[in-house]
């Protein structure tokens, strides 16, 4: 048990992101409702973001905004230690990823509305039936 | 061997290709269109013949166009064998052109422009195949020829031609993709080259089983040669207008198939390798089978063109048979049969077409007594039949004679029997037609109805007379072709 706890502490973040991702993926594959699938998709994407943010984390470091820099010249006097600040790169990447995901989400919602306009349902099985009714194969 | 670089082979190929746009643009003026065909045909023949002296001197003419990998290029090389084939194809093209004018106009066929355009394309591909310097180029033109003839075969655009066209493609395209292509690439994989050379391209990279499989893939893969069981496209293709059957399915297309097999056996494998592995016998057996079975089937056909088709299947195998003998006499006999059979069989097809145009009759049983009404046609038919059977004084005798000598030379006496038997069969299925034509009673006479039948128009009769005469001439003067073969194969 004494060995296990550090291991869990060291890795649990990664494990939980995997679980979150599995939830999202499962919802995307197995759910019947298109909106539910979209929620799954979003969970899936946020899980990846969580993973990236976890990569960037450093113990005993602070947020990646250099302090005492407001004066302009002041910053140059202080020596900046890399270990003091959390890695900013994953954050940058994830800002991008979040915006991508919201953009995709918006488009997907628009699509869902279009589908509903045409078929009056968002359930996959019912959609399939509607398609069969109007003589279109899947 | 001296090699001359020249653009002539390319021009010979392209000439009828370039004429296609002209043909299409002058589609509303049939006379202009047809004169263009002649001009192109004659230019082509002149180009081909202009290379003849050089080849007879024992030189070669070569031109490399695109080299896309070492040893695999799109290249032309004119040697004796290719020259022989090119002369046959290009000279018969002119004759056929005259004939097809008569035929197509006589029957008022639709889509004549399309017909002549694809005809020109097909003949281009044939010349290209004749002048190929390597297997890749040969394959290229082989495929172009297959595709260009499809619209010709399916020309009538009705249900029968749909089915025939389908069968035609299935066999021709299917075998070439499924068998030739992998075999060819495997050759390249093993040797790194596809260039034809009389010594073969394989040094000792092939084991006997591999060589056997490869050879069989080629022999069956070039299905245009009509080796059984890949022969049934040829009778099916007889739905096409007769000029197509005559030039393409007695000369160009089928001979390209045979020519390809000859090329592969002599240029890729090499006579020595085949002899070492004793593969000649294998091919000979297959060819003999085809010869006999096809002859027997021909006997039972009542439709004239189908009978001719089965006769063609059997005669094609003679050529392969001859080459597979792997002896000088056999090679000579086999290859010269390309020429002899071409002139003989095209005469026969021309006759069949002329009869159809003049009387609308397709079936042999209807043709008794026609010889009196159409004496020239039936005389020509007789000469053609003699050529195919191998009776003097038609050219066919010369080739058959050499083939028989070849079997003796190779000490394959059993196979000699095959030749003899098949000659009898040939006689059985041709001579009765001639006999009935001249001496039988026509249906009209029996019915006592009005007799209006006469010779077909001149455009049809002249070509068949020409080919019949040439067929006889060849018996006396085969020297040019013999020399070509000797320089080409180095025998």
């Amino acid at each position: 048990m004494t060995d296990l706890l550090p291991l869990i502490v060291a890795k649990y973040n990664y494990w939980l992101y995997v679980i979150l991702m599995m939830i999202g993926l499962y919802a995307m594959i197995a759910k019947n409702n298109l909106i539910k699938k979209l929620v799954g998709m979003n969970i899936f994407q946020t899980a990846i973001i969580l993973f990236y943010v976890s990569i960037g984390y450093k113990t005993d470091a602070t947020i990646p905004i250099i302090q005492n820099a407001h004066g302009g010249q002041g910053a140059h006097s202080a020596v900046i230690h890399a270990a003091d600040y959390i890695n900013p790169l994953p954050h940058v990447l994830m800002l991008t990823a979040i915006v991508v995901s919201v953009a995709t989400f918006g488009v997907a919602m628009a699509l869902a509305v279009r589908i509903y306009q045409r078929y009056q349902t968002l359930e996959e099985d019912e959609l399939r039936m509607r398609l069969a009714d109007i003589g279109l194969e899947e | 061997m001296e090699t001359i670089i020249s653009i002539k082979p390319l021009l010979a190929v392209l000439v009828s290709l370039f004429v296609i746009p002209v043909l299409v643009s002058s589609s509303s003026k049939p006379n202009v269109r047809e004169s263009w065909i002649f001009i192109a045909g004659i230019i082509k023949l002149i180009l081909v013949l202009s290379m003849l002296p050089v080849i007879l001197e024992g030189k070669q003419i070569a031109l490399t166009l695109f080299e896309f990998a070492p040893g695999a290029a799109i290249a032309f090389r004119v040697d004796g064998l290719g020259m022989l084939f090119a002369i046959v194809a290009s000279s018969l093209y002119i004759v056929t052109s005259i004939y097809s004018i008569g035929y197509m106009r006589g029957l008022d066929e639709h889509g004549q422009t399309r017909f002549v355009s694809f005809f020109a394309l097909a003949i281009s591909a044939t010349i290209g195949a004749a002048f190929s310097a390597n297997l890749l180029t040969l394959y290229l033109f082989y495929e172009i020829l297959s595709l260009a003839t499809y619209p010709l075969v399916a020309h009538h655009q009705d249900e029968t031609s749909r089915i025939s066209g389908r069968r035609y493609l299935t066999f021709i395209l299917g075998t070439s993709i499924a068998l030739v292509l992998p075999a060819m690439i495997y050759c390249y994989h093993v040797t790194g080259t596809l260039e034809f050379s009389t010594a073969g391209i394989f040094a000792d990279q092939l084991s006997k089983p591999a060589a056997t499989v490869l050879l069989l893939m080629f022999v069956f893969g070039f299905a245009k040669a009509g080796i059984m069981p890949f022969h049934s496209w040829l009778p099916a293709a007889m739905v096409a207008p007769t000029p197509v059957s005559a030039l393409l399915h007695a000369v160009a297309v089928v001979k390209v198939g045979v020519f390809s097999i000859v090329r592969v056996m002599t240029g890729i494998f090499g006579v020595d390798l085949l002899a070492n592995f004793n593969l000649g016998v294998v091919v000979m057996t297959i060819a003999s089978f085809t010869i006999l079975v096809a002859s027997c089937i021909a006997l039972s056909q009542d439709e004239l063109k189908r009978r001719l088709a089965y006769s063609t299947i059997s005669q094609l195998s003679y050529i392969i048979f001859g080459v597979a003998l792997l002896s000088p006499q056999g090679l000579l006999g086999g290859v010269i049969h390309i020429v002899m059979h071409a002139f003989g069989k095209i005469t026969l097809f021309f006759c069949a077409g002329a009869i159809y145009v003049a009387t609308g009759k397709k079936y042999i049983s209807q043709m008794s007594g026609l010889g009196k009404k159409m004496p020239f046609t039936f005389a020509a038919f007789f000469i053609g039949a003699m050529g195919v059977i191998g009776l003097p004084p038609a050219g066919g005798f010369y080739s058959k004679w050499n083939l028989i000598l070849g079997t003796l030379e190779a000490q394959q006496t059993i196979f000699m029997v095959v030749l003899l038997v098949s000659s009898f069969l040939n006689a059985f299925y041709f001579l009765p037609i001639v006999y009935k034509g001249f001496f039988g009673k026509s249906e009209e006479e029996e019915d006592g109805g009005p007799v209006k039948i006469q010779e077909a128009n001149l455009c049809l009769v002249i070509p068949l007379m020409i080919t019949a005469v040439i067929s006889i001439v060849l018996f006396f003067y085969p020297t040019v072709f013999v020399n070509l073969i000797k320089t080409g194969l180095g025998i």
């Binding site: 910053a75 900046i80 953009a103 628009a110 306009q117 | -």
Partner: protein
């Protein structure tokens, strides 16, 4: 499907877990991710760009090219929603309310319109009377939200935030207007054409700055080449360049969010919604 999904999910999970086996510990300062590139960013960024917020520095400068496409993605999403849903056909039925009396008129003739003004006002089919409290509170709040959004954009160099966040907040303020009043109010105030132009313009500002850098003889988006064009301390030129692109991002995001919302909520008819 459910079963298949389950298996796929389990396989993926197993694969991912297998990959975590050789991960460095969570928060390990010596992991490759935290040493190779990031140290350069942390130590040099302020010197090279004069921007204390490292995330902004990396986002808008070192990886500014990514961010440009990011903005393009948002623009594209807006355009996609517009293209997918926008429906120019007039709706047949209209509802009006006679303001003084509160009587609701249902006009079924599509050609007949009433003049909207003091006497009549537009109304939604599923209309709920506007709540005075909500209306008033929002009316007060919205300007502040918008000012805050501007602050977030402008102050992105020094504190968390930047163009995206500011843009989204500004967009939300517009959406709040639509929710608290009605969609027509928003559409009336912010013309569709204006939003459309702004969405493209925002990204264009970003790309334009890059192109100007190029025309000044530098690489694409190399802000340092802008120095001759902008008065002030040439040391801060990169920070200024970043501010410029952040403004572009803000505009584009604001417009895109508004377009997406308006189109989804009104099914593209721009008449009634939440």
């Amino acid at each position: 499907m459910r079963f298949l999904g389950f298996i796929i999910v389990c396989l993926t999970g197993a694969l991912l877990l297998y990959g975590t086996g050789e991960f460095p510990d969570w928060g390990d300062p010596d992991s490759p991710a935290s040493t190779h590139l990031s140290n350069h960013y942390i130590e040099k960024a302020i010197e090279e760009t004069q921007v204390p917020n490292l995330v902004t520095a990396v986002l808008a400068d070192y990886r500014g090219f990514d961010t440009m496409f990011e903005t393009a993605v948002v623009f594209c999403a807006g355009l996609a929603c517009f293209l997918l849903l926008r429906d120019f056909s007039q709706k047949k039925e209209r509802f009006y309310r006679h303001t003084p009396t509160g009587v609701i008129l249902h006009v079924k003739d599509s050609k007949k319109t009433l003049k909207v003004g003091k006497e009549f006002e537009h109304m939604d089919k599923d209309w709920v009377p506007s709540d005075l409290i909500i209306k008033t509170v929002c009316r007060i709040l919205i300007p502040f939200i918008q000012i805050y959004a501007l602050y977030v954009v402008a102050h992105g160099d020094f504190s968390p935030g930047g163009g995206f966040q500011g843009g989204v907040i500004f967009g939300s303020s517009l959406i709040l207007l639509a929710i608290s009043y009605d969609l027509k109010t928003l559409v009336r105030r912010v013309n569709e054409k204006v939003i459309g132009i702004f969405a493209a313009l925002g990204v264009l500002i970003y790309v334009g700055i890059g192109v100007i850098c190029m025309s000044m003889g530098g690489n694409f988006l190399d802000y340092s080449k802008l120095a001759p064009l902008v008065p002030g301390d040439p040391h801060h030129i990169r920070a200024l360049g970043m501010l410029g692109v952040e403004i572009g991002v803000g505009i584009a995001v604001t417009a895109a969010m508004a377009i997406i919302y308006i189109n989804i909520v009104s099914e593209g008819r721009h008449d009634e919604g939440l």
